[in-house]
Amino acid sequence: MSLQSVALWLSETPLALELADSNWLFGTVEALHVAALTLVIGSIALVDLRLIGVGPARGTAQEVLERLVPFTLVGFALALASGSVLLFANPIGYSENFWFAAKFSLLALAGINALVFHLFAQSKLAEPGSVIPRISGAISLSLWLGIVIAGRWIGYTL
């Protein structure tokens, strides 16, 4: 089954038809997506800035991680759920959109970066002067900035 046939099938589902008919439903889910995304960005930015060695977050990098990552995960789950619903609004358009593909590629890279951090860099947090957590934080911050940019550009290129 090709991507296009999946997109075509999604566009004919009851949810897709409801989203096309109802302005309030699309707007409401979109608002939830923005709120969830800003929760992800806000919490992850504080963590990344702390890894880099700046920002207002209090405590060690490990403490900041433990305190804020739950917010990131809740925000991400909400963004994923609301984003999945929004996908039904224009599946064919999204499947052919460069920025949509770019956003998901950057999301995948952010996930890989988080995994690499967890496996190789988190243990080095207590080491004074270690640059690996700083690099990981800078990469994460750049990737999430790219995700916001790509996400906003989708709306202008559909």
Partner: protein, 168 residues
Amino acid sequence: MSLLVDFAAWLGTTSLSALVIGHDWLVPAIQVVHILAVAGVLIASLHIHLRALNLLERDVAQEQVTARFLPILWGALGVLAFTGLLLIASEPTRAMFRTIFWVKLALATAASIGTWAQGPLALRFNTGGVAVSPAQRVLAVATLLVWLGVIYAGRWIAYADAWAGAPA
């Protein structure tokens, strides 16, 4: 409404408006900065109010958390105001002629005051150490809901109908 119509007409003639309109990429770029500033507002407010609800940084006094995150809130609000003005300049006849835009501004003002008030409330009740008063908890829940309302109203500007007789 005539004052707003005059303001919109004047804004449309400014070089700021010409600059924003003249570059296709500028409006989405400004919106990206706007969204990042919303993230700043949200995370600063969450720290301040979740502290009042004993859900975050409960070993630190409320006024200390408020003092640490209020500068971020004010800075982010400043960026929101500036980028918001640029977005209005890109389309002067749009947002200002929709009720939801003014609802958003009113809610944002109320939520900003509610977030700032956590510091004075903590000093007023002087619950000592890391304890918080019921008034702070009520304010925390109410203000966080209002911030969600700001985000909802902001997104709704794109879908709301303009006032009857508004300039096209």
